[in-house]
Amino acid sequence: MNGKKSLFAVIEWILLGLIICTGIYNAFHNDNFWVFSLPQVLTLLVAIILAFGAVQYKNDERKAKEQAEKVVEKIQNIVSQKAFYTFPINGDPEELDKLTRISLKKISNCLTVLKDYSKQFGFVSEAEYIEGEYKKFNDLFSENPNDLDYLSKSERLLKNYAENIDSKCDQIIAKLYK
């Protein structure tokens, strides 16, 4: 991969060098080189503006995809941790409650951003699915947020929701760079 990048860089520099040399040669040996008509200037300007716009658009789109990927990875980092869906029976109920709420809040905020990206990059159904699984997790946790006995017995179900979210996140990333 690095070899390929280096080869492209070399080719780019060679082409740039050729263009500059051709320009310099024409500047000194072609009397008409500096003679421009207005239509020629306008055509050149329009071409430059369009080319610049196209490159910027591609750049902006790539940056937006990278941001969307970061948001998806933030969600995955939370749901893939065992501490997110595990509630040890001898744990501190208040502490575990607070930590889970913080995680749920973070996912909720990530989902708000992700839904905007989903419209832009065509993964609306995947984002809605994640929201649905998140809501199921949240509802189950919310019924008894301080009851470790209840939550530890619900671990399998909570883990299932978390893993569904994680898998769907993988699908979104795959779709982003298709």
Binding site: E94, D97, K98, R101, I102, L104, K105, S108, N109, L111, T112, K135, N138, D139, F141, S142, E143, N144, P145, N146
Partner: protein, 107 residues
Amino acid sequence: MILNICKEFSDTPGARYKNEGKYSGEEFRDDLLQPRFLEAEANNEKLVIELDGGYGYPTSFLEEAFGGLARKYDIKKVLERLEFVSEDEPALINEIKSYISSARDKK
């Protein structure tokens, strides 16, 4: 008129009903939300609910508090009277409004 849930009630609101533990949605509605709502109604002013500062809200708490209020006092009236502020978790506002809008009599 402002009601800050975190400062005036709890930064870790509980479950749905009083018999399920402290700081339930039912307790919040009966002791704080309902009286303030009625006061706002009497003064013809908005009741601003500030949701920031806490650790997060169980869905059952929100539904019982705000959905419960709408079941008692009419959906449209509650939606018109209440305003929400939530910088920590913006999605909460639409979530609460959906609980209010879809409030039904519980049997």
